[in-house]
């Protein structure tokens, strides 16, 4: 199977660069979604989702357009709150054991723990420096040395430091598409989240930029729990440890990525990953 070969090749390459990639040991579950129903107005978008997302692993959500994978992702940091008609029917989402839809939970505090990177890179029309420190500034941090350190650390973390360290004052919009997306990742890292949600982060990028972002995802895995939504199955195979397949708002199958792509349990999954529909 070509997909698998691709995956294996990548795996070896990554192992070479990334010595301390996690062994087979089971990581503990950080996000737990149980019996979750979700609606946009009268239209049900998610049906009875149950899943565990493990700490410091990359989990990929795949599935055809409109299957609810992005919706579920946005439920994890309550970005769906911004949509007026969105509501939860049943069930809960727990992050580190806390029910995030509990009325006592402040969504802004939650979002500092659960960062997000969007499909279309959206740096603010400010300088690169200001883009990165935005998350700190809104927390009231204005000490120059702290901000400087954060900028360097986050840009290095997002593998962008080398390219932009000499022009931190230029507009974030002057960067190329791939650089902009990595800037957005750096910006998300500055808040020091535990979880990073990525909503099709490479869909607007060319293959070279995509490869860079994927490499970045690999290196971030050591410190962050990453959930990535992708249309691109090769990408899911390359970057993720576990994969969840959605169809029509339902979670069809979730398994270790190797397992999923080699021998899927479900017929629909197999049809989708082998390209027969979707």
């Amino acid at each position: 199977m070509p997909v698998m070969e691709d995956r294996l090749e990548n795996k070896t390459r990554m192992d070479a660069t990334n010595v301390e990639s996690p062994p087979d040991e089971k990581n503990r579950s950080l996000i737990k979604i149980s019996d979750f129903d979700f609606f946009y107005g009268d239209k049900q978008a998610l049906f009875d989702i149950n899943m565990d997302i493990a700490e410091k692993e990359v989990t990929a959500f795949i599935g055809p357009s409109g299957c609810g994978k992005s919706t579920l992702l946005r439920c994890i940091n309550r970005m769906n709150d911004l949509i007026e008609i969105a509501r939860i029917g049943r069930g809960d989402v727990r992050v580190n054991g806390v029910d995030i839809y509990d009325p006592r939970v402040d969504a802004t505090v939650l979002r500092k723990r659960v960062g997000m990177v969007f499909q279309k890179s959206n740096p603010f029309p400010k300088s690169i420096y200001e883009n990165v420190v935005y998350g700190l500034r809104i927390q009231g941090i204005s000490k120059k040395s702290v901000l400087d350190d954060a900028v360097e650390k986050c840009l290095k973390g997002a593998a962008l430091w080398e390219e932009v360290s000499d022009r931190l004052d230029t507009s974030g919009l002057s960067l190329s598409g791939g650089q902009q997306q990595r800037l957005c990742i750096a910006r998300a890292l500055a808040v020091e989240p535990d979880i990073l949600l990525m909503d099709e982060p490479c869909s607007a990028l060319d293959p070279v930029a995509t490869a860079k972002v994927e490499e970045l995802i690999h290196s971030l895995k050591n410190d962050y729990t990453i959930v990535i939504v992708t249309h691109n199955m090769q990408q899911a195979a390359r970057v993720s440890d576990r994969t969840a397949f959605f169809y029509m708002g339902k979670l069809i199958e979730m398994n270790a990525t190797d397992q999923m792509f080699m021998s899927p349990n479900n017929e629909q999954t197999e049809a989708y990953i082998s390209g027969r529909f979707g």
Partner: protein
């Protein structure tokens, strides 16, 4: 399709029916193009007309100023400066006396006793007044001569022009019959200049007489009075020292010095007086009108910016759909109110209300309260704000709407609150759009006529900044107001008529500049969003 002859399917000529060589499409194109052409033409005509009527002003004003100088009116005016200074001293002195009489009355003395006490020092005050008498007489006499000379000179010019017109029309007999008196301005002025010796003598008399008189000044027990008197003495000594300056100006004044076009221009642009139908000399200085317009516009913007932009931010970012559907039409409806109705409201309700409120005891601590005027720059400014708010609101809301949703999402995803997102991301991103909205609102305010004409008080005077905040509560006149008020009553083609056109031209240029900058900013805004 299969029935068709294959060749006829490839007849690729136009299928449109044409009428008189025009197809439907080209007719429509012509219609729209014609509309655009007509609007450009009209705009061009307006500009041309404004320039044509206004352009003659400076030449004509120059002639007018030349006559002013040649006839010697300027000379008399220079002497009058000294007289004015002297009158000011006299007024100050009288204020001391008024204060004294008030104090005495307040202390419970009988009217008769008050009079008796005042009479003691009376001689000093009368003598001081008499000091000014010779100068006043001298000036009156000189003025009489030069004003008559000027008037007959102007009459001569009119008659000459009339004669020219008659000749042009071919009515030569009539032209011959006109008797045109010869007026020699120089000769007339020499009558005045001859008496310059008298003027100098009057000054010597002042210089020697005034110090002596000051020594005779009464002494007061009351500290306030003696303070004022001391101040008066100081001012008087200053005046004595200044007499040579006044004199030098008069003596060195040169009748032959020509008035350049530049002088006419400066006299308009920096002229501090707008005086029309004066018996001495008309002045067309735009400064009082310009500053009045600016003052009213400033007050209006002080209110319109926070309300307009604030409402736009609220409606665009905070309000729920029901509020949006309520607020937006309401604010936009304000612009549907005719400005004369707003002005009427200003006179009948708002101005009166302001004055009543300013009379409240609780507000007595504000130094310029209670207000003596109902119609002031503030009244007009508040109402103009009402008219600028819809403009600013609508355009600022558009600018906010143009901020990509992605910015908001990215900001929220980093854990910022709604308020932080608005203040740190949405408003800065839309800022140039908001600024251009404000500029266009300013353009609306500076060009508004009816409200200022009705509510600004129409006093032609430069607002005095030295009054602090009180300056906002002074009646002012505006550029738009003066045109509306005076254009109906001026003689077509006269200097005054042209002056009003130049004021209109100035307004036109201001609007043009504002629109230009607003567009520049909008373009910059579009680029910055990538």
């Amino acid at each position: 399709m299969s029935d068709q002859d294959p060749d006829s399917r490839y007849d690729l000529g136009s299928r449109q029916r044409s009428f008189l060589g025009l197809t439907k499409e080209s007719a429509l194109k012509g219609l729209f193009g014609g509309n655009a052409f007509v609007s450009i033409l009209v705009l061009g005509l307006i500009t041309f007309f404004l320039f044509k009527e206004g352009a003659g002003f400076f030449g004509q004003y120059r002639e007018d100023l030349t006559t002013y100088r040649n006839s010697g009116l300027e000379y008399v005016e220079l002497m009058r400066e000294e007289q004015d200074a002297l009158s000011a001293l006299n007024r100050y002195l009288n204020s001391i006396r008024t204060l004294q009489s008030e104090q005495l009355s307040a202390s419970g003395l009988e009217f008769r006793d008050v009079k008796a006490i005042l009479r003691k020092d009376e001689a000093f005050f009368y003598d001081f007044e008499d000091l000014a008498y010779p100068l006043r007489e001298h000036i009156l006499e000189a003025n009489e001569i030069v004003a008559t000379a000027r008037d007959s000179y102007n009459e001569m010019l009119d008659l000459q022009e009339h004669q020219q017109n008659l000749l042009k029309a071919g009515r030569e007999d009539e032209a011959q019959n006109l008797t045109i008196p010869e007026v020699d301005l120089e000769m007339m002025f020499s009558l005045v200049k001859e008496k310059e010796v008298e003027f100098l003598a009057i000054n010597r008399q002042l210089e020697s007489g005034m110090p002596k008189l000051l020594d005779r000044a009464p002494e007061y027990d009351d500290s306030e009075l003696s303070l004022k008197l001391a101040r008066f003495k100081e001012l008087a000594s200053m005046f004595i020292l200044e007499i040579p300056d006044y004199e030098l100006k008069v003596v060195s004044w040169n009748r032959a010095e020509s008035v350049s076009l530049g002088d006419a221009f400066t006299s308009f642009v920096f002229g501090k007086e707008w005086v029309t139908n004066s018996s001495i000399q008309d002045w067309y200085g735009i400064v009082p009108l310009f500053s009045g317009s600016l003052l009213v516009a400033f007050i209006a913007m002080c209110f319109a910016i926070p309300f307009g932009v604030g409402a736009a931010v609220y409606v665009n970012q905070v309000a729920n759909p029901i509020e949006q559907n309520l607020i937006k039409p309401y604010i936009e409806f304000i612009s549907a109110i005719p400005s004369v109705v707003i002005g009427f409201f200003g006179i009948a309700v708002f101005g009166t209300l302001l004055r009543t409120v300013s009379g409240w005891d609780a507000l007595g601590w504000i130094e310029f309260f209670p207000l003596s005027e109902r119609l002031t720059g503030f009244t007009a400014g508040c109402l103009l704000a009402l008219m600028a708010i819809p403009t600013i609101f609508t355009l600022a809301e558009d600018a906010l709407n143009n901020v990509p949703l992605a910015f908001r999402e990215a900001s929220m995803a980093m854990g910022s609150t709604k308020l932080q997102t608005i203040v740190r991301i949405i408003i800065p991103t839309a800022l140039s759009g908001i600024i251009s909205a404000v500029l266009l609102g300013f353009g609306r305010v500076i060009g508004e006529t009816m409200v200022v004409l009705l509510c600004a008080g129409n006093r032609i005077e430069i607002p005095q900044i030295s009054k602090g905040v009180g300056v906002f509560f002074e009646p002012v006149h505006t550029m738009t107001g003066i045109i509306a008020q005076e254009l109906g009553e001026v003689v077509n083609g006269s200097l005054h008529y042209r002056a009003l056109f130049v004021v209109g031209l100035t307004l036109f240029l201001i609007s043009l500049l504002i629109n230009y900058f607003a567009q520049k900013i909008v373009i910059k805004f579009q680029i910055s969003r990538g």
